[in-house]
């Protein structure tokens, strides 16, 4: 199988308010088309691990490779390139740009990447929105949507550049069970299409349906 992500000996410390060893010597690999659930109790470091794996946090020791390319120690510009080409993010609190329309929100990462012209990007964005069942809201301001709707738009945005890996931080943490089910179905479908997903979750039902569960206790991975 093809290795999409590998992490070796990750250590991370918080210094404020008091020194705390949050990630303890974590090594793991994720392969293509895996649907990984990262579970554990609050404070065990699962969100911190996700941020480190997703290059949003540079402050760690160890070695991370995405698509066999090391990303540790890259500069601002290179990291931005990796983020826009290889990684899609989904957060617990949906994090859309509130002042922009749904369509603009989905298009922005692609416009930044400039792989296609604006017209193609718009078609792609509409295709992604249709996949999420959100094409009817394309012209609406993101701030006017409900939480579940915003989360689906956020997934469309994360997918717009066809990333190698999709990282989700509690994607259903803020949603009711009906919306959670919709999001999970979307994720499953994406995995079937060959996408790789790592999701931090509290939700045991959600985790139970994933292809692989990584459990963390006190900053360590246990199996």
């Amino acid at each position: 199988m093809e290795k999409v992500l590998s992490a070796k000996n990750i250590n991370k410390y918080f210094h404020d308010p008091q020194p705390f060893h949050v990630l303890k010597d974590i090594s793991l690999t994720v392969e293509k088309a895996e649907f990984v659930a990262l579970v554990g109790k609050s404070g065990c470091g699962k969100s911190s691990l996700l941020y480190v794996l997703s290059t949003l946090d540079k402050n760690y020791d160890g070695m991370i490779e995405i698509n066999q390319c090391p990303v540790t120690g890259l500069g601002e510009q290179e990291l931005a390139d990796v983020r826009k080409k290889s990684i899609g993010f989904i957060f617990q609190f949906h994090y859309l740009l509130q002042d922009f329309t749904v369509l603009q929100n989905v298009m922005i990462p692609a416009l930044k990447l400039k792989r296609f012209d604006a017209k193609t990007i718009e078609q792609n964005a509409m295709k992604k929105l249709r996949q999420m069942g959100m094409e009817g809201f394309a012209g609406k301001l993101a701030g006017n949507l409900s939480g579940g709707q915003q989360q689906r738009v956020a997934i469309a945005r994360a997918m717009i550049n066809d990333p190698d890996i999709l990282m989700a931080d509690e994607p259903t943490g803020n949603l009711d069970s009906a919306n959670s089910a919709i999001i999970f179905d979307i994720f499953s479908e994406l995995v079937e299409q060959g996408n790789t997903i790592i999701a931090v979750t509290h939700d045991n039902d959600f985790a139970g349906k994933c292809t692989r569960i990584i459990e963390m206790v006190d900053g360590r991975v246990i199996n």
Binding site: R83, F91, L97, Q104, I108, L113
Partner: protein, 421 residues
């Protein structure tokens, strides 16, 4: 959305929060407008005061200073060789002194050849009594060649009746200060009698009345023709008491006065020395103007910085999202600099427009009428350099105010921002 994504995002940010954008912009606008109004008014007031005080002072005056030498006496001379004799003269009096200049025509010829000198006016000043009916006032007349004298000051701007040039055509004409004219109830065409210490009594006809707005001039001074003045004090036609000069650059007055004093061996006094109190008050007023302007700009600058800072703080979440979507720190700085620059451009342009409007309105507000002050409206000057400075300052402050917080935000890891939310 156009191809330049940073530009589009900046535009959406500005347009979607119209109220916030407007408030920040108004901060710039009012700061600049107040600066323009203040500096135009204060500089106008300074200019008015300086003009008023210097309006009757020539750049350089050359005159014969009364200096008497009391160190020797005829008694000293006479008993010089006598032994053991102490001569002592109590309270010596000066011998006859003359206050006129000699070889005036020669000096004038020499001065007109000097490139620094723009105009030369020889003058005969005399102390007189103005009498009209039973009233007598003491005063001072300047016997002048009015054509030359007009090259020195804009006397015509100060005329409240008649024209200064009319003096040339009328040998017994007189131009009076408004104060004298008022006290003696004189109008254009009235007759006034002048009496001098030489015992001459001569009738003059009023051809003009001036008002400088300075009591010590308006209440005592009058202009007559040089020939009449010479007749009044019974002197011949090359009798002059001073030569007044106008220079190409009045800042050179001090050095030139020294030069002329040495060359012609008369006292030469420059306007700064003659009006040292004016100079001091000028310096004080100028410093005051700058202090007020700088204070105003600092307050405006901080206002701009504050609102800009808050705007960017409220967009921290957007910055984190954009960064996770692959925007670099440079993109973030570009997006917010574009916003602060547009705010700076529109804000400072509307600032100078409002500043101009307010200054214009102030310049049309009538000044409370007064017999002594020759001022119809509030003094305001319009100088392009203040407007250029206003725009540059507004642009720069807004730009820096936007740049600093966005530079700070651009360096943060997205996760630092997300955790803080």
């Amino acid at each position: 959305m156009t191809t330049n994504i940073n530009f589009s995002i900046a535009k959406v940010h500005l347009v979607s929060r119209k109220r916030q954008t407007l408030i920040v912009m108004l901060g710039v606008t009012f700061g600049i407008a107040m600066f323009i109004l203040m500096i135009s008014f204060m500089k106008g007031a300074n200019k008015y005061l300086q003009d008023a005080m210097l309006s009757s002072a020539p750049d350089i005056r050359i005159y014969n200073d009364v200096k008497t030498n009391y160190s020797t006496s005829i008694a000293d001379e006479y008993y010089k060789n006598a032994n053991n004799l102490l001569t002592m003269v109590h309270h010596p009096k000066p011998k006859q002194v003359t206050v006129n200049l000699k070889n005036v025509q020669g000096i004038i010829n020499s001065l007109t050849n000097n490139k620094e000198v723009v105009a030369v006016s020889p003058v005969l000043s005399a102390i007189v009594f103005f009498s009209y009916g039973q009233v007598q006032l003491n005063g001072m007349v300047d016997g002048v060649n009015i054509q030359e004298e007009l090259k020195l000051y804009s006397l015509n701007e100060k005329m409240v009746a008649g024209k200064a040039e009319q003096l040339a055509g009328k040998e017994n004409g007189i131009i009076l200060g408004a104060g004298i004219a008022g006290k003696l109830n004189l109008k254009l065409g009235s007759d006034v009698n002048l009496l001098t210490a030489a015992g001459v009594n001569k009738l003059f006809k009023v051809v003009g009345i001036f008002k400088f707005g300075i009591g010590t001039i308006d209440n005592v001074k009058a202009y007559i023709n040089i020939k009449s003045a010479q007749q009044l004090i019974k002197k011949n036609k090359d009798h002059y008491t001073e030569i007044r000069l106008k220079l190409a650059n009045m800042d050179h007055a001090k050095n030139l006065a020294l030069l002329f004093a040495r060359r012609y061996n008369y006292k030469a006094e420059d306007w700064e020395t003659a009006n040292s109190s004016i100079r001091a008050s000028n310096i004080v007023r100028n410093v005051l103007t700058y202090v007020v302007s700088i204070a105003l700009l600092i307050v405006a600058g901080f206002g701009i910085y504050n609102t800009m800072n808050m705007t960017i703080a409220s967009k921290m979440k957007d910055i984190a999202i954009l960064k996770t979507a692959g925007f670099t720190g440079k993109d973030i700085v570009t997006i917010f600099s574009l916003q602060s620059l547009s705010i700076g451009i529109v804000g400072s342009l509307s600032g100078i427009s409002i500043g101009y409007l307010l200054s214009y309105i102030l310049s049309k507000v009538p000044f409370p009428r007064s017999d002594l002050i020759n001022l119809n409206y509030f003094p305001v000057i319009f100088e392009v350099k203040y407007y250029v400075f206003g725009v540059l300052f507004g642009l720069l402050t807004a730009f820096i105010a936007g740049l600093m917080p966005s530079l700070k935000a651009s360096k943060l890891d997205p996760v630092t921002i997300l955790r803080g939310l």
